[in-house]
Symmetry: C2
Subunit: 235 residues, 2 copies
C-alpha cells in the first residue's frame, strides 16, 4: 500500500501498468499458469525492467490484492459517510459494487480465486479488510432495521446475500453483454428491495386488509344508493 | 465421470476417500500449495498406493470438479422434474444450493477458485455444465413470469442473483456458525421472494389502492354530509 506513495510519478505509472497487466494475465489464464514473461510483454516492458519494480509473481499478486482492497474500501467509505437513509445507502452500495466488479473484472477474478493461496501476512490483511467491509454494510442494515425502514431479517445474512448477488458477477459478466452495469445494478436493487414474487392481492397482510375495506366500501356505497333506488321504484 | 463405474466397490470407496481428501486439502491451503504427500496422509494411504488411483494433482482436481458438477446436476434435475409452481421450485433450488454449499464447502471452494486454471477439456466440460445449469433455472423463472407468478424481471439476472446469493456461502459460511443451512436458506428465500424493504404504504401497488379507497371514502363522506349540511343551513 505504501509502495506507490514512495515512487516518483512516472515510476508509479509504470508500476500501475504492470499491476494491471498482471491482473489481466492472472484473470485470463489463472495465477498458476501466468508467467512473468507474459506479464512483461503485456505491459510493453522487458523482463529486466519488470524486475526493477517487482521481485516475483507472488509480489505481483500481493499488489493486485492490495489495490483491490483499497478501491473497495475507499468507495464504501465515501458512500457510508453521506449518511443517507439505509435503503438509499444500500442502493448506492449495490450500484458501486456492480460497477466495480464490471470495471475491474480481472482484478476481482484474481482476488476471489487466489485468496486461499495468498502468503500468510497478505491473507491476514485481506481477511481483516473483508471483515471490516462486511461489518460496515452490516451497520447500515442494522440501523435501517432499527429505523423501521428495512424488514427485521438477520443483518449479516442481508449483507452476505447482497454482496453475493453482486460479487458473483465475476463468474458471469461479459463487458460485451446486452445489459450495462447500471441496468444490472437496477435489477439487483429492485430484486433485493422487493423480491421476485408477483404482487398478488390477498397474499400479503395489506392485501387482505384492502380486500376487506373494499367490500365494506362497496356495502356503504350500496346503502347510500339504496334510498334513491327505492324512491325510483316507488314512483 | 466414468472412472467410478469401472471400479470394483472397494476401489471406488478408496478413490472416493482420496477425492474427499484432495478437496479438503485444496480447499484449505489452495490447489497450488497442496501436495500429493499431504493428500495421501489425509486419506490414510501411502503415496505409492495413491499413485495406483491417480496419476497427478491435476488428475485429482479434475475428479473434484467432475464430482461437484455431477452432484449439482443430479440434484437440480430432481427438483425441476417435480414440475411444481415456479416459486416453489425456486424455493427448493435455494434450499438445495445452500445445503450443497454448506455440506461440500471444500469441494465448492476448489471448484469456484480453480475454474480458470483447469486443463482445457475439463474447463470446457465445466463451462458447458454450468451453462446448462443456469439455463435450467432460467426456464423455471421464465415460466413463472409467463404464469404471472413472478415479476417480469430479466430471467437470467434473477438466476444469477439467486445463484450468487447462495454460492457466495463458500466465502463466508462456517459449519460452527450460529445459523444452520436451513435457517440461512429460509432467510434467502424470504429475501428473494419479498425483498428487504419494510412495507410502507404509498410505496407499492397497495399504496395505489389506498389512494383510490381514500378518494371513495371522501366522496361517501361528502354525500353523507351534503343533505345534513343543507338541512342545517335551512333551519
Amino acid at each position: 500500500m505504501s509502495r506507490d506513495a514512495t515512487l516518483p510519478p512516472t515510476r508509479a505509472a509504470v508500476l500501475d501498468e504492470i499491476v494491471r497487466a498482471a491482473a489481466a494475465a492472472f484473470g485470463e489464464v489463472g495465477y498458476r499458469t501466468a508467467t512473468l514473461d507474459a506479464i512483461a510483454e503485456r505491459a510493453g516492458l522487458s523482463k529486466v525492467t519488470l524486475y526493477r519494480y517487482v521481485s516475483s509473481k507472488e509480489d505481483l499478486l500481493s499488489l493486485v490484492v492490495e489495490r483491490t482492497i483499497a478501491t473497495f474500501r475507499t468507495g464504501l467509505r465515501e458512500i457510508v459517510e453521506e449518511r443517507r437513509p439505509a435503503e438509499e445507502t444500500l442502493r448506492r452500495i449495490v450500484r458501486f459494487q456492480v460497477r466495480l466488479l464490471a470495471e475491474n473484472l480481472a482484478f476481482l477474478t484474481v482476488f476471489f480465486a487466489e485468496e486461499s493461496g495468498l502468503p500468510a501476512p497478505m491473507a491476514a490483511q485481506a481477511a481483516r479488510a473483508k471483515r471490516e467491509y462486511d461489518r460496515t454494510i452490516e451497520r447500515v442494515v442494522r440501523e435501517g432495521i432499527e429505523a423501521g425502514r428495512l424488514r427485521p431479517l438477520p443483518p449479516m445474512l442481508v449483507v452476505f446475500g447482497l454482496l453475493g448477488m453482486c460479487n458473483w458477477l465475476h463468474k458471469w459478466y461479459r463487458p460485451q453483454g446486452a445489459l450495462s452495469p447500471e441496468q444490472i445494478a437496477d435489477v439487483f436493487v429492485d430484486l433485493l428491495e422487493r423480491g421476485y414474487l408477483a404482487d398478488r392481492p390477498g397474499a400479503s397482510r395489506d392485501g387482505d386488509a384492502l380486500t376487506r375495506i373494499d367490500k365494506r366500501l362497496g356495502r356503504l356505497e350500496a346503502a347510500m344508493a339504496a334510498p334513491r333506488r327505492r324512491r325510483t321504484r316507488r314512483s
